[in-house]
């Protein structure tokens, strides 16, 4: 079932990513971690469908936020990040998915691992955790190309500065800030051992990012003693060749 969302706010997260707030009058509510499908239709009838994770926490004001990263040769993301304006209407389907979600009833330690824009559904979990003042301790390991590519930077900074139950570790893959202790590179066993929970605490993990990133992170977690049953993954590709 397709709904209609009206663009009510636009906010640039980075030079290439934009957060879009949609008002959806018949929105049934969502769970942190779910996604929506957006459908764009050209005047000639050609349509393209893409999936975007919801960044906002569940709420009752019929609004959702998605954050879209512009892909160089993308068919949909350049439009969403550069041409969309306030008041525009978008067709959407959702909320979708009941597996890659975090619910407030979960009290075990939570490990979130994000690669690039894989942070989006994990941010919904962090925001929901903060909004409900839940007791589950969270750790986020966030892999980004460079400091300028971090989404929700100020919000994450404030959270990790003022809240002991949310720990944030950044891993830079191309360029790190000056004096950063770790040279740029992808997530490795050492970072897993310092930025995650000891496996004997029985954490549940949510890993979201490009497929190769998710494979690497999942293998490292299993090598560190994590149980595969408690690792939930969401992979995305730059492909999404869907109609």
């Amino acid at each position: 079932m397709w709904r209609v969302g009206t663009v009510v706010a636009l906010h640039d997260e980075t030079a290439t990513a934009r957060t879009i707030t949609l008002e959806v009058s018949d929105w049934p509510g969502h769970v942190a971690g779910q996604h929506v499908d957006l459908r764009l239709t050209a005047p000639d009838g050609y349509s393209a469908v893409r999936s975007y994770s919801i960044a906002s926490a569940p709420n009752s004001d019929a609004r959702i936020e998605i954050t879209v990263e512009r892909l160089p040769n993308g068919e949909v993301s350049p439009y969403l990040t550069q041409e969309l304006t306030l008041g525009d209407r978008l067709e959407l389907r959702g909320p979708i998915g009941g597996w890659f979600v975090w619910r407030t009833q979960q009290t075990e330690p939570i490990l979130l691992i994000a690669g690039g824009s894989g942070i989006v559904p994990l941010m919904a979990m962090i925001r929901w955790r903060m909004a409900t003042a839940g007791s589950a301790p969270f750790r986020l390991l966030y892999s980004v190309r460079e400091p300028g590519a971090i989404f929700y930077r100020d919000e994450l900074q404030t959270l990790s500065d003022h809240n002991l139950s949310i720990g944030v570790t950044y891993a830079y893959t191309r360029a790190a800030p000056k004096d950063w202790p770790r040279p740029p590179g992808r997530i490795d066993a050492k970072l897993i051992s310092t930025g995650t929970w000891p496996s004997n605490l029985g954490p549940t993990s949510y890993v979201c990012g490009p497929t190769s990133f998710v494979e690497n992170a999942t293998d490292l977690l299993i090598a560190a003693g994590y149980s595969r049953e408690n690792i939930r993954t969401e992979r995305f590709g730059a492909t999404g060749e869907r109609k």
């Binding site: 979708i96 009941g98 597996w99 890659f100």
Partner: protein
């Protein structure tokens, strides 16, 4: 050809499958008809490069389900699943 790193998760097909199933498919448990592995549909490897969607077993990579839209029809081939247990 499916290279090892160009698949997504069953989750990525959930929107398309919601046009067929009234219940959430991602949390449904399915048994692979080839190797017998029982996994959530969300854990399947999903290939979207074909004309349509192909879900493969995360353990043995055999095809679980294919979904193709053509004109006014959708073709669903789920013979790779012995069963799919949906949460009511």
């Amino acid at each position: 050809m499916n290279s090892p790193m160009n698949y997504l998760d069953g989750n990525a097909a959930a929107g398309e499958l919601s046009t067929i199933f009234a219940m959430d498919v991602t949390t449904a448990e399915g048994e692979c008809a080839h190797c017998g592995a029982i996994k959530r549909f969300a854990e399947a490897h999903l290939y979207m490069h074909a004309p349509g969607v192909v879900a493969r077993c995360a353990v043995c990579e055999h095809i679980l389900l294919r979904l193709v839209s053509a004109h006014q029809h959708m073709f669903l081939d789920a013979r790779g699943l012995t069963y799919l247990r949906l949460n009511v």
